[in-house]
Symmetry: C2
Subunit: 189 residues, 2 copies
DNA sequence: AGCAAAAACCTAAAGGCTTTAGGAAGGGTA
DNA sequence: TACCCTTCCTAAAGCCTTTAGGTTTTTGCT
């Protein structure tokens, strides 16, 4: 019988699509087996476990996000760079909620170190170059920016800002204004 | 045979303990049935489904958090109030990670409306009374504060700030400084 | 107290998911 | 061609949820 020609990469890609369509928690080897018309145990030739599969989706999402962030930051600085990167996260989360959820999955330290996670830190750090945040404060500022980006996107995605005015669109824009103002006037220690 | 004397509330409480000890995803009717030495289907007399159970844990956590927030805000204003409420979220998340995860669970609109979620919004709005944020900007500021609180706590809980200096403790303190500064100098529209 | 109805509990069973064990077939290579 | 590695298979065990339908305990009303 004809082979499906599976690889761990193709499985991760299909799992990412499934996650976006049905939610990250719905990702299962069973679902993928159906999708590729293959028996479930066959998938264990490519992937160690469901957790392994999900981890691959997480790494995929982190890498895609970092790629997009890098493109968005090219040639921009200051407020421009800030909103560009913010929009990358927000747009990605809305277009690929399952992948975004995957990217938030806790990774074990070794996997995390080999992931694109560090590139994300670097990108936020790059934004700070357009502002006068003292070097000793950089990490703090990176964490605050990362937290606000992630927190906003995560609350918005969970529907926290639905059905109430003003629109989330407007609040997001004001959030970017606020972060810009914050970085321009970063408080003294 | 003696009855276990279960109620939906007792189940939710036990589920919350289980969530804190083993993770919110580990919450299951099976585990609770073992815990109370009762058959699994018996639990359906008290709870409609696993989803129902998890929703109850979410409501429990939201209410506990709101209660603590209210106490923390009493008699405080400005920066004091800001850090007090921030610490409530952060401390709760660290002491009760499973409950905190539950509180972030997406609720359907009707359930969300009946939850303590609105009290949370009110508490953050109360903090703004200590600052000169224009009324038309209140909702935006509430969302930014909520996003930063949640985002920071969530990233910290996922281990994002482990194994790197400076300490997360220090960054949290600086994050509170930053939010305070932001509210004192909220940017014009 | 007596008794019926409601509530709490049970067993049985179906169906979905993961994972391991062990075997068969496709495809490349000597 | 013959071999071997990889991909795929069936079988089976173990966990989880949920529904169906029956029994026992408790409650509450007369």
């Amino acid at each position: 019988m004809a082979r499906a020609g599976l690889t761990a990469e193709r499985l991760a890609e299909a799992a990412a699509e499934l996650a976006d369509a049905a939610g990250f928690e719905q990702v299962s080897l069973s679902a993928l087996a159906r999708r590729f018309e293959v028996s479930v145990p066959s998938l264990y030739s490519h992937v160690k476990s469901t957790h392994d599969l999900k981890t691959r989706v997480a790494l995929l999402a982190l890498a895609e996000l970092a790629d997009r962030g890098l493109v968005a930051l090219a040639g921009r600085s200051g407020r421009d760079a800030l909103t560009a990167l913010g929009n990358v996260y927000r747009d990605y989360a809305r277009a690929h909620p399952g992948r975004y959820a995957a990217a938030r999955m806790p990774l074990d330290p070794a996997t995390a170190a080999a992931s694109a996670g560090l590139r994300h830190t670097e990108m936020i750090r790059a934004i700070l170059r357009g502002y006068d945040v003292p070097e000793a404060e950089e990490t703090h500022a990176v964490r605050v920016l990362g937290a606000t980006f992630h927190g906003y996107v995560s609350l918005e995605l969970a529907g926290g800002f639905d059905h109430s005015s003003p629109s989330s669109e407007r609040s997001w824009s004001r959030a970017m204004d606020a972060l810009d103002a914050l970085l321009r006037h970063w408080p003294d220690e």
